[in-house]
């Protein structure tokens, strides 16, 4: 973001790496911040679970600017951290450059593929999870219009939107989907005011269930949806508790499992391509005491059936990122 924060960040990395000794694992959070109630927070809870179970410690850093990516990676690698886990697709380029320089260190990148012998790439089938919540949205909608609000307009978020749209149309071929992106810069992840305005705009177009895949902006979406008396769908972590009875469900991305597994496997883990989909519990939808009254048994039965079909391969959900097109939605 700035010179000042860069210095502070650099100072923090130096402080962290000062007492380098054993091969502790390290976790690097992306710009959304450690407690984003979403992606990064899920990663943190996975690492926390590992630390509690094993009684060991891990190092962590929250990035403050783009420029710190490579720096943070190198610092941790030079200090002997192993494995180094990072959250977020944006690490792709930095890791691609750094991985080769530290062949002894294992890297784990979540949400992106980096082809190097010492990198485990964990990717999620977000389109599958989004498909499931799309079915629920279509079944819960009374107006036959549902909404989608994305954060920054990047292929990954379009992948969410596309899976969701396919799910909606599978449950109700006549449904209308209103999709908006918050912006094209990283500030689109932290603009709840704009998230609220988009929500109100979608409501005025008839939407009565809105799926937010927008980081901090999503907090504004869920808030406004609850205020206006419509349903919303959370993302990444379970966000049902934020507005009990007003959040239909959350699309779960078990980032925590991926981080936990990586730290448990430790140095010398299996490298390569690791896909977390419905079949291996990597994605799913959230059910708890906060939404059990608004999810009907009928709805649950349909979703679970679709879930089983995706798991055994009889149902294919189109992945936007495979060919940059979406059969169900135009951007």
């Amino acid at each position: 973001m700035t010179l000042m924060t860069k210095f502070l960040g650099a100072a923090a990395v130096t402080a962290l790496t000062a007492g380098a000794a054993l091969a502790e694992p390290a976790l690097i959070f992306d710009l959304g911040g450690k407690f984003d109630k979403s992606f990064n927070e899920a990663a943190f809870s996975g690492a926390q679970r590992w630390a509690e179970e094993t009684g060991e410690t891990f190092r962590e850093i929250e990035l403050q600017s783009e420029a710190q990516r490579e720096q943070a990676l190198r610092r941790f690698a030079e200090a002997g951290s192993n494995p180094i886990v990072m959250t977020g697709f944006a690490f792709g380029d930095a890791l691609g450059q750094v991985a080769g320089d530290y062949p002894e260190t294992d890297f784990v990148i979540i949400g992106m593929v980096v082809d190097a012998p010492n990198v485990r790439s964990v990717v999620f089938n977000e389109h599958e999870g989004s498909y499931l919540v799309g079915i629920m949205a279509a079944m819960a909608s009374k107006s036959n219009t549902v909404g989608f609000i994305g954060g920054m307009d990047i292929p990954l978020i379009r992948k969410f939107a596309c899976g969701y749209a396919q799910g909606v149309l599978a449950a109700n071929p006549d449904a209308t989907i209103v999709a908006n992106m918050t912006g094209t810069t990283p500030s689109a992840w932290n603009d709840p005011v704009k998230g609220s305005e988009l929500t109100k705009a979608q409501i005025s177009q008839g939407a009565d269930v809105i799926y937010a895949a927008a980081g901090g902006t999503g907090v504004g979406v869920l808030q406004t949806a609850a205020d206006e008396g419509i349903l919303s769908i959370g993302v990444d972590s379970n966000q049902n508790y934020m507005h009990p009875g007003k959040v239909l469900t959350s699309m779960l991305k078990r980032v925590d499992n991926a981080v936990y597994q990586a730290m448990k496997d430790g140095p010398g883990m299996e490298k390569g391509f690791n896909v977390m989909g419905i079949a291996n519990g990597g994605v799913g939808y959230a059910m708890d005491e906060f939404n059990k009254d608004i999810v009907s048994a009928d709805m649950k039965a349909v979703v679970d059936e679709a879930s089983a079909q995706i798991a055994d391969g009889t149902l294919m959900v189109h992945d936007y990122m495979s060919d940059d097109t979406c059969p169900a939605l135009s951007f």
Partner: protein
């Protein structure tokens, strides 16, 4: 586009324009007195945090508003201290305030609430709720005027009405009072004001304090009226758009109202790509509308549409002749 869509669009315009308007008027006071202030965004952010934090802890949004104003005022005084008393560079001081606010808010929020730089969600009396103006329900069924009154004019939080009332008030204060005349003079020719025996320092401090109060209200509006809580960096650069609006408005209060409403309308249109498509028949990228305020400011600055002349002594610390 039907009438209801238009009303909803304008309603959204008003909501989005309000923080811009308050920040723009804040900048107007400061810059008219010769103190450039690019720290508007930081002050809004600090106010957004403190108003949400105090409202969350006390359950009273008015206490929150006061805390927000106090936080913004403190940063204003810091800016005043650096740029008026110590005659430092006003731009650098403003930048420093932006960084300070961005860092401090998250740090304090994490320390107080342990929710990762957020405040808890505000409920009930800890939020500014929409006000229904008298007779809104009775007038609503009437055609044309009904929705206009009930949807567009009624149903905003009290801060929105305060912001709109601040426009004529600012005009009156600047152009119809002795204080206003002196304030404008201090931004054009501080030496003349000094010769007349009026304190340049005092006037400039008064201006940055008014600026602080207005920014405080703008920040409180973001976190306690539009939203129910603080999220890091939630001002999302609105202070900078307000500065662009200030240049666009050529440092005048009524123009500031129109400029911020125009920028608010761009923001509202950005959320309704379907309306634009229906109106002009082609699909326009939302980002284009988001960039328009800046593009228009550049056009104004380049002198294509009238000329924007800043206060003559703007950015210059005043040094008494030795």
């Amino acid at each position: 586009m039907d009438y209801m869509t238009l009303i909803q669009l304008l309603d959204s315009t008003v909501r989005l324009a309000t923080p811009l308007l308050l920040a723009c008027l804040a900048g107007l006071f400061s810059e008219r007195a010769g103190i450039f202030d690019i720290g508007l965004d930081g002050k809004m952010l600090a106010a957004a945090f403190f108003s949400a934090a105090i409202a969350a802890m006390s359950g009273n949004v008015w206490l929150g508003l006061l805390a927000g104003i106090a936080a913004s005022l403190a940063l204003s005084l810091l800016h005043g201290l650096a740029s008026i008393t110590f005659r430092g560079n006003q731009l650098i001081s403003g930048v420093a305030i932006n960084f300070l606010a961005a860092g401090l808010t998250v740090l304090i929020a994490q320390d107080w609430f342990q929710q990762g730089g957020r405040t808890p969600s505000l409920i009930g009396g800890a939020r500014f709720n929409p006000i229904t103006l008298p007779f809104a329900d009775t007038i609503e069924p009437m055609p044309i005027i009904g929705p206009l009154y009930a949807e567009l004019i009624s149903g905003h939080s009290i801060l929105v009405y305060a912001a709109f009332a601040a426009v004529p008030l600012t005009w009156w204060l600047l152009y119809r009072t002795r204080f206003g005349l002196r304030l404008r003079a201090v931004g054009e020719n501080p030496a003349a004001v000094d010769t007349a025996g009026v304190s340049v320092i005092g006037l400039r401090y008064a201006a940055v304090c008014i600026c602080g109060v207005l920014c405080g209200i703008a920040g409180a509006y973001l976190s306690t009226a539009l939203q129910a809580g603080f999220i890091k960096d939630m001002s999302a650069g609105r202070g900078y758009i307000a500065l662009a609006a200030l240049i666009f408005a050529k440092w005048r209060p009524w123009y500031a109202l129109w400029a911020t409403l125009l920028f608010g309308l761009f923001g509202a249109l950005e959320t309704r790509p379907d309306v634009i498509e229906a109106l002009i028949g082609i699909k326009v990228q939302g980002q284009l509308l988001g960039a328009l305020p800046y593009v228009m400011t550049v056009i104004i600055l380049a002198g294509f549409v009238g000329k924007a002349i800043p206060p003559r002594a703007g950015g210059e610390p005043y040094v008494k002749e030795r």
